[in-house]
């Protein structure tokens, strides 16, 4: 009886500690999500009450060219930024995991850009990409190459943004670094005794051992690339000629420019569905390539 009283008291205490998060989740996440799901089936111009229209919004979305353009652009960006970000951050983490002088300075330098506010980064990169006075074209000109128009050209705008995304890999590098430092040194010693050179050690020891970290970063990157908004919105506003028109921009314009909140809610749910499907696919494949130490 005494024990159950204590358990009850502890349960109440626990609930009291959890309640700020729980209330916040209920009010600011779950309720808006539930409402947006309902509104996605409505015509809802915000200043008038929502009017139930069934699947109308979803039907219209599938016939909208801007939907397909923005989805294609987002996938195109993800196909470039996601593998590039994963490879570059893993590569940097491997370099930072070596024992060299001034390692702390290098780590700081690599992490520092991810602390720069988004607006400042966007402005900085607009100048770096500037076709006339930009750093890239200045360097290319020194090599005798006529640089492209970067973000002002339909063909190079999206690859430019993907290139810029590498600027913020600092956080991912730190996560990789933590994973790398967790790899038992005995495994490397054993591999070395077996005659494995550095590439084979990395391929057969490092990669499998940090595969849960790679998997975590992959999931975060999938979610992140489908949410890209602020940087392209500031740098290109979706242009030139819709070359950098992302799914989130399409959603934002429908909500806040055209006041189609029902339509925008439907877009948000489709976005969530796509991310869930991709994440589920990643989880499904993970059984073949992710190795957990305890198993």
């Amino acid at each position: 009886m005494a024990s159950s009283k204590r358990e009850r008291r502890e349960f109440v205490k626990g609930m009291a500690f959890v309640s700020p998060w729980f209330i916040g989740f209920l009010v600011f996440t779950l309720t808006p999500m539930g409402l947006s799901l309902y509104w996605s089936f409505c015509d809802y111009p915000l200043t008038q009450p929502p009017l139930f229209r069934g699947l109308e919004n979803y039907r219209v979305i599938l016939h909208e060219t801007d939907f397909w353009i923005s989805l294609k652009n987002t996938i195109y960006y993800a196909c470039m930024a996601l593998p590039a970000g994963m490879c570059v951050s893993l590569g940097l983490a491997l370099l930072l995991n070596t024992k060299i002088r001034g390692l702390g300075i290098y780590r700081t330098i690599i992490f520092l850009p991810s602390l720069v506010p988004i607006v400042a980064s966007a402005l900085l990169w607009m100048w770096i990409f500037n076709a006339k006075y930009g750093l890239f074209n200045e360097v290319l000109a020194k090599l005798g190459i006529n640089g492209p128009n970067w973000i002002a050209d339909v063909n190079t705008a999206m690859p430019s943004l993907a290139l810029m995304s590498l600027w913020g890999v600092g956080h991912t590098v730190i996560i990789y670094l933590a994973g790398l430092q967790d790899v038992p040194t005995e495994l490397y010693e054993a591999a070395e005794i077996d005659g494995a050179e550095s590439f084979r050690r990395m391929w057969h020891v490092t990669i499998p051992m940090i595969s849960p970290v790679i998997f975590f970063n992959l999931i975060m990157a999938i979610i992140g690339t489908f949410q890209v908004f602020a940087v392209p919105y500031m740098m290109t506003q979706g242009g030139p000629f819709h070359a950098t028109y992302f799914y989130t921009m399409y959603l934002y314009e429908n909500a806040f420019q055209n006041c189609y909140f029902g339509f925008a809610s439907a877009l948000a749910w489709i976005q969530l569905l796509i991310v869930v499907v991709l994440t589920a696919f990643a989880f499904w494949t993970s059984t073949r390539w992710v190795h957990y130490q305890g198993k």
Binding site: T47, Q48, Y133, G238, G239
Partner: protein, 474 residues
């Protein structure tokens, strides 16, 4: 010990919190008892915001004091979005300072209070306003807003560039002492005034259609339109619209789309000393009357050729223009219409659900007084919304060519954005279409046909929604 530390930490948190609540910052002014406080949200920041705040102060000290009203002016970005969200949440400001586009968009969303009855009561009538200005305040036959500062669009040209290249212009049969008067002339001036370096990069251009803020509304200089309010039909495929965008395309073809894109990358921001018109990146521009203010503030020497600005008003009025290295004229009309122009206005409206609509209108009506409107429009370096302007308004105006913009605003060939509820969507689509034309990715005729189809679908969908709402209401 632990208990003491815990108590000290708690005290350190609670005491400053209580102190902040008791003695912390308060609202910047106390509302006198018996006064109604109005929340006025405006888009203007910087000098224009300060100038509007001056007008608000004038109101608070005069009419406000007499009628027990205090207006609290709040400047903010993206005011239109914030007003809409606040209105939907049931906590709108009392007065919203938006653009004319919101009159039809918000009117269609039932987000604004109709002002017809109040306007009638205060003796504010259509006849007192320039026709295009009043039209921009009306949606579906109802008055939803009143103007604060209006403006028309004219052609600005850099006289220095013209003089410097006088021989070349004369050789091309053009007069270096005046602005182009036809589109053909504009193209010829532009060609003469475009220069490239040895590598073929553009160093200066005559005119760049894509640099205009009004490229979406070129139709009005070609005698066409985008939407007919009487029939509800879109006019995008009108051959005159096709011709307008063929003209845009001709610049990309003549100058080279990549060359232009690279050249434009070197332009500085509008509100900076690197403004391309001020740095002579181009010789001619489509702009509003406020440009006089920007030119004076950012490159004063262009407004003080003969004497310092302060002494300019001692010059005979006809001599004032010689003090300027720039001038203005009506933008040429391809349709041969006299004084064709696009006009836009800043508006004052009362959002639906505002707590004090009558008091809010008192402030809006105050702005409509001729002397107040002239003061505000002079400060903002703009034209007046009213038909009649005082001589002093024109004579003492900061912009020596204000008569050009006044004439354009009063012109029967002046047009504003049509009262189309889906105009925001059309503007966004037009922007993409024009980018496509300029990048030679879209054929103007085919592009306009596609655009028309798309806009018709959007509008039909809007009408369907309205019908469904009406049916639901019944």
């Amino acid at each position: 010990m632990k208990k003491i530390i815990r108590t000290i930490i708690l005290a350190c948190l609670i005491i400053p919190a209580i102190a902040l609540l008791a003695f912390g910052p308060r609202a910047k002014h106390e509302v006198p008892p018996g006064f109604v406080e109005l929340q006025y949200w405006e888009k203007w920041s910087g000098p224009e915001g300060i100038q509007m705040a001056e007008i608000v102060d004038d109101f608070n000290k005069t009419v406000g004091k007499e009628k027990h009203i205090v207006v609290d002016y709040m400047s903010m970005t993206e005011v239109n979005r914030k007003v809409l969200i606040a209105t939907a949440a049931g906590v709108p400001p009392d007065i919203a300072g938006c653009w004319d586009g919101q009159t039809s968009q918000f009117g269609a969303l039932d987000a604004l209070e109709p002002l017809d009855d109040l306007a009638r009561e205060y003796g504010i009538k259509k006849e007192d306003y320039k026709p295009v200005v009043w039209d921009l305040c009306v949606y579906n036959g109802k008055l939803y807003s009143l103007p604060s500062t209006p403006a028309s669009v004219a052609l600005l040209y850099n006289k220095r560039i013209f003089w410097r290249n006088a021989d070349k212009l004369r050789a091309a049969g053009l007069d270096p002492c005046r602005a182009p008067q036809t589109i053909d002339e504009l193209d010829r001036y532009s060609d003469v005034l475009t220069f490239r370096d040895a590598a073929g990069h553009i160093t200066q251009s005559g005119f760049l259609p894509m640099e205009s803020w009004y490229v979406n509304y070129l139709c009005y200089w070609w005698g066409a339109g985008v939407w007919d309010r009487n029939t509800g039909k879109f006019l995008l495929t009108d051959p005159r619209n096709v011709a307008a965008y063929e003209w845009v395309k001709s610049y990309a073809t003549r100058l080279g789309k990549d060359s232009v894109a690279e050249f434009r990358q070197g332009f500085g921001g509008f509100n900076s000393a690197q403004n391309p018109f001020l740095t002579e990146k181009y010789a001619m521009s489509q702009q509003g009357p406020w440009m006089a203010n920007y030119i004076y503030n950012l490159k004063p020497e262009m407004s003080e050729v003969l004497v310092p600005k302060q002494l300019e008003y001692f010059l005979p009025h006809v001599a004032r223009e010689f003090n300027y290295a720039w001038a203005a004229a009506a933008f040429p009309s391809a349709a041969g219409e006299k004084d064709a122009a696009f006009c836009s206005i800043d508006t004052l409206a009362i959002p639906r659900g505002a707590k004090h609509p009558r008091e809010s209108f008192e402030f809006i009506a105050y702005i409509q007084r001729p002397e107040v409107m002239e003061k505000l429009c002079s400060l903002h370096c703009k034209t007046s919304a009213l038909k009649k302007t005082s001589d002093a308004f024109i004579r003492n105006h900061m912009n020596p060519y204000i008569d050009v913009w006044e004439r354009l605003l009063a012109s029967p060939n002046a047009h504003g954005s049509p009262p189309l509820p889906t105009m925001a969507q059309l503007n966004a689509d037009l922007k993409v279409f024009i980018e496509g034309v300029y990048l030679l990715k879209v054929d103007p005729k085919k592009g306009l046909e596609d655009l028309q189809k798309r806009e018709e679908e959007q509008y039909a969908r809007y009408n369907d929604r309205q019908k469904a709402r009406l049916a639901e209401a019944k």
